[in-house]
Symmetry: C2
DNA sequence: TATTGTTATACTCTATAACTATA
DNA sequence: TATAGTTATAGAGTATAACAATA
């Protein structure tokens, strides 16, 4: 009776990842990372990483939004938003004004410079999308977005 | 002529994120994070985080695969794989054997314990998928996977 | 008492350079 | 000279606890 089994020492020619490729989570993560990689390259000219872009986009479309509201809608933890906001402020892209009827809160407003930058950046982001979905028809892209939102919304 | 524009100090009731929600990258990232959160909870019993799971899955389905091959197929940088492999080894889930015809390389093989664990873990992962896609039909889930793969493969 | 924004801090993840041994 | 695996380390991202000011 043999106690320690002999493992056959074989080499692998091509790696089989078919099981992982059946998982939505695995594919969503790989796809997100691929898009983010391209995003970082194309958006570097605006000095915006994905999270900066998301924050600026929400501020531009919601002038006066508070940090707390930003955190809730983008799933960011409050302590991690602080330095991000400070950076956008010191770049002159946003302005922090007192909240109209809550002395604890601060309203975040885009400056003219911030609005101009984001007008360009959002166009660039949309163009990047069309490149990413190079093999996707616009119908397929719409389907993809709809299905992804069913998962996290 | 007014130089400094007065910004209207208004409050925001509900945050509008409609622009971000048109972007595939934003949606893919949010969906991936939502699934990973659930994955971490449900797979903690196996002591496997998403990357551990992916690595173990590839080793089980490709006995004798090398670190370098793992890195290439899962998009992991070699230095970041080292401690991961050491951990799986010290847990007795894998065994490192000399490569049959490359003295530099090391073949990674699953132990019986590793194979048993992953047999359970892969079933659990597939079940988790069906929960995640609770609002998705199996047809929609298949469509989603296919579209995501078009982006990163 | 609860909430907003903040500080400090720790932990994880990811990235780069450089070394060794083999090819 | 190039490649596989490794070490050391730096940087980015993410997490929790606790505080002051205000509701």
């Amino acid at each position: 009776m043999q106690r320690s089994k002999k493992i056959p020492v074989t080499a692998v020619e091509t790696v089989d990842t078919r099981f992982l490729e059946t998982l939505i989570g695995y594919n969503a993560r790989r796809a997100a990372l691929a898009i983010i990689e391209e995003f970082l390259e194309k958006m570097a000219v605006y000095g915006l990483k994905p999270v900066d872009f998301s924050v600026m986009s929400v501020i531009v479309h919601n002038p006066g939004v508070t940090s707390r509201q930003l955190c809730a809608s983008l799933n960011i933890l409050p302590p991690n938003l602080v330095s991000l906001i400070q950076s956008l402020d010191s770049r002159g892209l946003i302005q922090r004004l007192p909240h109209p009827h809550d002395g604890r809160a601060v309203g975040l407003h885009p400056t003219e410079k911030g609005k101009d930058l984001m007008a360009e950046a959002e166009i660039a982001a949309s163009e990047l999308e069309r490149n990413v979905g190079g093999k996707l028809t616009s119908n397929q892209a719409q389907t993809l977005v709809t299905l992804l939102q069913k998962i996290y919304l």
